[in-house]
């Protein structure tokens, strides 16, 4: 499916959820959402969006946190699947957008592309719900129920490789959440969550 087919249903349903994005989904998400509860893990450390999102979820147990991770990023910190379950967080929905490539560096294949089963890994780590979606209609139909399911939930979604370029931050960025520095973004999110 396309990234838009992944993101549009989520944008319609996200409500007061925090959404943490990274890598090839940062700019596409900004075309669907412009919320103070959006956070781009960009100009940061690759592979650490999910554990960052877990921290928010633990600090805000009454609010659901969604992490839009990629397969290349997930591979960098597979242990985080275990950490998430071990933490006891019930309010985290971890997406793994699987396109089989490191998109922003030129779509080089990720190790294990087409063979690794992230949903099975999440189930083996103890996620109570871990599903894989290959087509947009099935995904869109299932998403409302999965967002309400007791978590943590892992949703692995096959997406087409795109042509996103390396991420930057600054006042000329089209995506509004890429205009502040990473430090200012963290402070803005904290302020929004403590408001």
């Amino acid at each position: 499916m396309t990234k838009d087919e992944l993101l549009a249903p989520l944008a319609r349903l996200r409500g007061p959820r925090v959404v943490v994005t990274t890598m090839g989904l940062v700019r596409p998400w900004a075309r669907h959402s412009d919320s103070p509860l959006d956070f781009a893990s960009a100009d940061s450390a690759m592979g650490h969006a999910a554990d960052f999102a877990l921290g928010i979820a633990l600090a805000q147990p009454a609010r659901q946190v969604v992490c839009l991770n990629g397969d290349g990023s997930m591979l960098m910190t597979l242990g985080t699947l275990v950490t998430i379950v071990q933490s006891g967080a019930r309010n985290l929905v971890l997406f793994v957008a699987e396109n089989g490539t490191y998109e922003v560096t030129g779509n080089q294949k990720v190790p294990g592309a087409g063979r690794v089963d992230f949903a099975a890994m999440a189930r083996a780590a103890g996620f109570p719900r871990a599903e894989r979606f290959r087509d947009a209609a099935t995904y869109a139909e299932a998403l409302p129920g999965l967002l309400e399911a007791p978590g943590p939930v892992c949703l692995v979604v096959d997406v087409e490789p795109g042509d996103e370029t390396p991420l930057g931050r600054g006042p000329r960025q089209d995506a509004s959440y890429l205009r502040p520095s990473l430090a200012d973004s963290a402070r803005a999110l904290r302020a929004a969550l403590l408001r």
Binding site: H48, A49, L54, A57, T83, A186
Partner: protein, 159 residues
């Protein structure tokens, strides 16, 4: 507290688990600790990281790209494996070179801990004795004032 245990922190973590406060969250690798602590802070909490110096070295990019880049006021307790192999009380650390790192009587992680913290622009302090414990409050204040992580090195084991 976001933690990965070692021998030196075992007693402290056992106590914290028994007491239930502050809550301990375990990680599988130390780099996760800095990202998770940064998320905890963004979510309104006051996190502390507890890791060994070996794990600190593993954490470089996570520390740089999350807690440092986000300017998170964060106290990081780092148990200092090998401190006694490197220097006696009050003695300065010897210069770090390939020969020192290969010496079997020196724990190479101890030789690299403080130079690494300096290179990464992380201020650090020591917690040698029980009488140093009041320094904790000052360390939290320093991290808040600097808006960045500050390391508190623990050369001895907790008991």
């Amino acid at each position: 507290m976001v933690a990965l245990p070692d021998n030196a922190s075992a007693a402290l973590l056992t106590l914290l688990e028994r007491e239930g406060r502050p809550r301990v969250v375990w990680v599988t690798r130390e780099g996760e600790a800095f990202a998770m602590a940064s998320g905890l802070w963004a979510g309104g909490a006051t996190p502390v990281v507890l890791i060994q110096n070996t794990g600190l070295l593993e954490s470089g990019d996570a520390l740089r790209g999350t807690a440092m880049r986000m300017r998170i006021p964060l106290v990081c307790l780092v148990t200092y494996r090998g401190y006694a192999s490197l220097r006696g009380a009050g003695e300065p650390a010897p210069p770090v070179d390939g020969a020192l790192l290969g010496r079997p009587d020196v724990d190479s992680v101890a030789a690299l801990t403080e130079p690494t913290l300096r290179a990464w622009a992380v201020p650090y302090e020591f917690l040698h004795e029980d009488t140093d414990i009041p320094r904790l409050r000052a360390t939290f204040a320093r991290a808040a004032a600097l808006e960045q992580p500050v390391a508190l090195l623990l050369p001895g084991a907790t008991t």
